[in-house]
Amino acid sequence: MSSDTGGPGGGVAVAEPAPDPAPHGFDQRHDTSLLLRVQHVLHAQPTLGPLAVLVIAVVAFSILNERFLSAANLGLVLQQVTVIAVLALGQTLVILTAGIDLSAGAIAVFSSILMAKLATDAGLPGPLALFLGFVLGTAMGLANGLLVTLLKLPPFIVTLGTLSIFFSLNSVISKSETIRGADMPDLLPWTGNTIRVGGFNLTYGSIIMLLLFAGFWYSLRWTAWGKHVYATGDDVEAARLAGIRTDRVLLSVYTCAGALYAVGAWILIGRLASASPNVGQEYNLDSITAVVLGGTSLFGGRGGVVGTLIGALIVGVFRNGLQLAGVQVVWQGFAIGLLVLAAVAIDQWIRKVKA
């Protein structure tokens, strides 16, 4: 390993390693073509692509409209993406295991209604209502996990079913009525309060979101659980043969995702200053969009939460930037759609990388 056989680019085609110091010199080829090298770099660093897109977008939009780069506007972008980012964090965990969670938004919206109802109609104190809301959201995630692991159903089907169930229960319990934040204990809309950090208006919700990303970045990268999540998504059979209890990993992932959606619900109440049963139809797909734009592969085992944060920011920056540039709202979805297609195409290309 110490002997580097020629620097990158210095590849002399497929020359035999002359006096091979090792008995099994599995030799290494060096690709010299620029395209292949880009492919390799993207393969090794999947967040580089999304980061480049984000930087280019920021530069382009700030040229189109100078207001874009103002602290006030950037603070607004962050506020706009916070809920989606938290949902996308949970979604990332699920997608890393080669699953998908179509019920992310449904769990978040239903949890926000439950929190609000418990605090208003049931008259529970704020902390208790919030806590029970977390518990119920987590339980919904757990239910997804149990269906996936015990009944061995595909995650797509499971969450398609629970999506419908949660939205339906949501309508029943809320009676399709919005609950105003002013009627709730202060703790519930607290996440919408802001503090000023050097010109930025940062909401507590955004701070919670960033802390959650840091926590899950650590868990995925520095703990055995994280390695097991990746291994399970990579090749579930191989992971099982390596001694990983893959069902437990999956269950933990769906449960964590549920808990994250519940935190998203709390932040959602703060953002809207209310709990509304009619928002969030688009949150399910938006969370997937952020994950995909962040370079996490829908086929599992590749990507990470840093990419997802970037992906969520890309969505936010595009929506906001296009608006400031005077592009009609109806065309925003079009632009995001193109981005998603490009991201998936690039992911497929990267996956074809050869040794």
Binding site: W222, E237, A238, I244, G301
Partner: protein
């Protein structure tokens, strides 16, 4: 877990002579039925210290069921398994692994997206000492990388430039190298390899064969399941021929030719007296 420990696995408990060393791993009278189909019918197998025992047999001869019983992947209906003379009961692959039997499955069981070090320690990660490890569950990546490097270079897989390289960027032979290195690093008693050269080209296949010899020479006996007769005859010390769910016989590459082995395997020739007990290891390998 060091090399020194492994080489003295061999002597049997009773301190008996070199004439008949105790098998490291032995199974007697194994039976496994699936409904009306009998996969293994009263099958025996014995693996002696310091040898490569190849297991060959036609499709449906019961090789894989036999091996699965030894590696804990299936529980036999009847029969006994002994590890170093003590009877063992494996309920899962993890049981066998804890007992010191490592298996490299045909499907390789590596996670392509993880790097070499992560794969070597997959399922038995090491945590940092102190609060970082116990409270924050932080992995000791530095130590695992150093260990991984050591294991890989001990087996002469040294040209891999970066232990942090994703396994999917490796060739088939290199991946097999990682899988074999993992089994050699953690197997303290026996290594079982299921078709390790099946998907490889000639050159890489030969390298993996050398790897298997190295594992044996470091003191770990190996059970090798393979369809590739030239490979079997090249590395095996003894060859266990499985036929119709039982052990037909055991031959050595010196006592029989490849054609004879195939004839016995398919039932075209009468199986000779089995070569039980280890092969005398006088000549240089």
């Amino acid at each position: 877990m060091t090399t020194a420990d492994r080489t003295d696995v061999a002597p049997a408990a009773g301190g008996s002579t070199t004439a008949a060393p105790q098998p490291v791993l032995e199974a007697r009278g194994l039976v496994k039925r699936y409904g009306r189909v009998t996969a293994i019918e009263n099958s025996d197998i014995a693996l002696y210290p310091g040898e490569i025992l190849a297991v060959i047999g036609d499709n449906g001869a019961g090789k894989s069921s036999l091996i699965k019983a030894l590696s804990g992947a299936l529980v036999p209906d009847e029969g006994r398994i002994y590890l170093e003379g003590r009877e063992v009961h494996f309920r899962s692959p993890m049981d066998a692994r804890h007992a010191g039997i490592e298996t490299v499955y045909q499907t390789l069981a590596v996670a392509p997206g993880l790097d070499i070090a992560d794969n070597l320690f997959l399922g038995r990660e090491e945590r940092r000492p102190g609060v970082l490890g116990s409270v924050f569950r932080m992995l000791d990546r530095g130590h695992m990388r150093t260990e991984a490097k050591r294991h890989m270079s001990e087996l002469g897989i040294a040209t891999l430039q970066n232990i942090g390289q994703a396994v999917e960027s490796l060739s088939g032979g290199q991946r097999q190298g990682v899988a074999v290195a993992r089994s050699a690093a953690f197997g303290s008693k026996v290594v079982i390899l299921d078709e390790p050269t099946a998907a490889l080209g000639v050159k890489e296949g030969n390298r993996v064969l050398q790897l298997i010899r190295d594992v044996r020479d470091r003191g770990l006996p190996v059970i090798l399941i393979s369809h590739n007769m030239p490979h079997v005859f090249e590395v095996a010390d003894r060859i266990h021929i499985q036929r119709l769910g039982r052990r037909a016989t055991v031959i050595t590459p010196r006592s029989h030719s490849m054609a004879e082995a195939v004839a016995i395997m398919t039932g075209a020739a009468e199986p000779p007296e089995p070569h039980l007990g280890p092969v005398q290891q006088e000549e240089g390998r």
